[in-house]
């Protein structure tokens, strides 16, 4: 398992007749920030809950390297507990606890320790939940859409601090989101889920280097060999998102043009090929 944080083989989870995950096999690298992307209902929370050990799988296997902590999207806190009490909660209920790490996180965001959690703002509650999660010194930190209620500035601050934590430790962070804009500059590795299956899995830089947007006169097929991920046509023009070995460096004949994709473009091309770019999934 060296170098691998989470590995699944034929993993499946069924809720009555609905398969939330089906025949799911991936290998996620350690000490990276892994962006787990998918629309609502894609199976992100199910995968994280199984990885955290709080939900049994219906079939298949999963191996997680080291301690796992899950911070769910609701970021639950005991409303009557003060912030200090929440740290005491983490200290008492975990075999490993790093009080200083938790305090440092709270200090970065100026969270008062003596205030009841119920009287903190939504953003402050997120920081308290994050401090409890980080204090447990997880090998794998699973963040299930934790930044949803933060404003863009706070979201950027939190992701920046998270990256610093990953750089300073051997922690792996799995960041789940359905807001593609959250991903910019955050993730090292992309795992894209759709309807309980893995649609795309790999190092983000490699994936971006392997994809290109080809724009040219209306045509039934792109001018190069490769997997067509998305195609859109107007009366006189065609646009293809293609997976090729050279990506945007693929030589194309005039008047075709090859353009690189952003991560957001790439995700949207795989998940919602008929939606306009920049739209939330």
């Amino acid at each position: 398992m060296s170098g691998v944080a989470i590995e699944t083989t034929g993993l499946g989870k069924r809720y009555r007749s609905l398969w939330a995950l089906k025949d799911f096999s991936v290998s996620l690298p350690a000490n990276k920030v892994i962006a787990l992307v998918g629309a609502n209902g894609a199976g992100k929370s199910t995968l994280m809950s199984i990885a955290a050990g709080i939900l049994p799988a219906s079939e298949g296997e999963i191996h997680v390297d080291g301690r796992v902590v899950l911070l769910s999207q609701e970021k639950p806190l005991y409303r009557s507990f003060s912030v200090s009490d929440m740290l005491a909660f983490g200290r008492h209920l975990n075999r490993v606890w790093d009080q200083q790490r938790a305090l440092n996180w709270l200090a970065r965001f100026d969270i008062p320790l003596d205030r009841p959690c119920g009287k903190l703002s939504g953003g402050q509650q997120t920081q308290v939940a994050m401090s409890v999660a980080l204090g447990a010194r997880p090998s794998v930190l699973l963040l299930d859409e934790p930044l949803a209620n933060l404003d863009p500035v706070a979201r950027r601050d939190v992701t920046g601090e998270l990256l610093a934590e990953v750089a300073d430790s051997d922690m792996t962070v799995v960041l789940s989101t359905h807001v593609v804009a959250e991903l910019a500059g955050v993730g090292d590795h992309l795992l894209l889920l759709s309807q309980g299956h893995s649609k795309l899995d790999g190092d983000i830089e490699d994936l971006l280097a392997q994809h290109a947007r080809l724009i040219g006169p209306r045509a039934a097929a792109p001018p190069v060999e490769g997997e067509v991920v998305q195609e859109q046509h107007t009366e006189r023009q065609s646009t293809f998102v293609v997976r090729t070995l050279l990506g945007a460096d693929t030589p194309v004949a005039e008047p075709w043009k090859a353009q690189p994709l952003t991560l957001e473009d790439l995700v949207l091309a795989y998940l919602k090929p008929n939606r306009s770019l920049g739209e939330e999934l």
Partner: protein, 324 residues
Amino acid sequence: MKGLIWLTWRQHRWPIVASAVITVIFFVLMAITASDLGSMAAKCLTETADQCQRRSTEPVPSHAAYLMNSLVFLPVLVAVFWGVPLLAREFEQRTLPLAWSQDVSRLKWLAGKTAVMVVLIAAMGTVLAAESEHLAYQYHAYTAASLFEGTPFQAGGWLPLTLGLAWLAVGIAAGAATRRVLVAIAVVGGLWIVRMVAIVKLRTQFMTPVSVIKPFQIGKANRSGPPVFTFSNDMGINNGNPVFLDVHGGTHSPAQVMDGWCGSADDVNACLQQHGIVGSLVKFQPASRMGTFHLIENGMNLGLFVIALAVAWWCVKKTRTTVV
């Protein structure tokens, strides 16, 4: 376990503190009342029947009865303020994913918190049950009320202890099953009423009652009406009303005989003789069975305790804390 002790204390400290205060208050009041009743009973031994009325309506015995009656209802408060919030409040505030995603598994979490509560309730229940039994005996010593009936029976034989434990578990199970505090409280209230009604009917049937035929000694007793048969510390069946027996072995209810045939008779004895009534059939549970009855009821309480905890355990095991 240390962590779960801390967590239980931090989350439930007000009910714990309030219960401890109530326990001390009840203990002191019961001890003082029992002491007063003991003194009154001892004084009665040196007085004539006219001087010592032994009335249960006097202030001190009334106070004792009030205390014992209140004690009998404390278990339902344990269910509402201790048991129900353990899971229902966590469900309502959606904090279970937080608690169960730490290094303590959900079943260890349930077992640990329940164990802390059981120990605390057992400690408080032991103190109260011991003193309530003492009070019941002093109440009996002064008023001669049977220890085998009504409140004195429920206050004795460690029943307050096992009832408290059972209803703690019922509260936990109700909270686990309904996941809503108010709904769980309503369920607990309904079950408590069912239990009260059912146990009164069941208790007399734990064992087959003893039947005794008491012949009337007509002409020897200088009183109107049949003699009253009292059995100290026995449990009377049918509220202690005997069934009348005729010369052919047939039985007649008190209402038929005393209200119908002989209700307006000047000479009740003559009336009874005229209708062939020769005696009465008395059914009762003898005092010697009181310990067995306490054991049976304690066993029922502990059975309820185990079943309710099993229900709570099953609910927690089946709980899904995630969305798809």
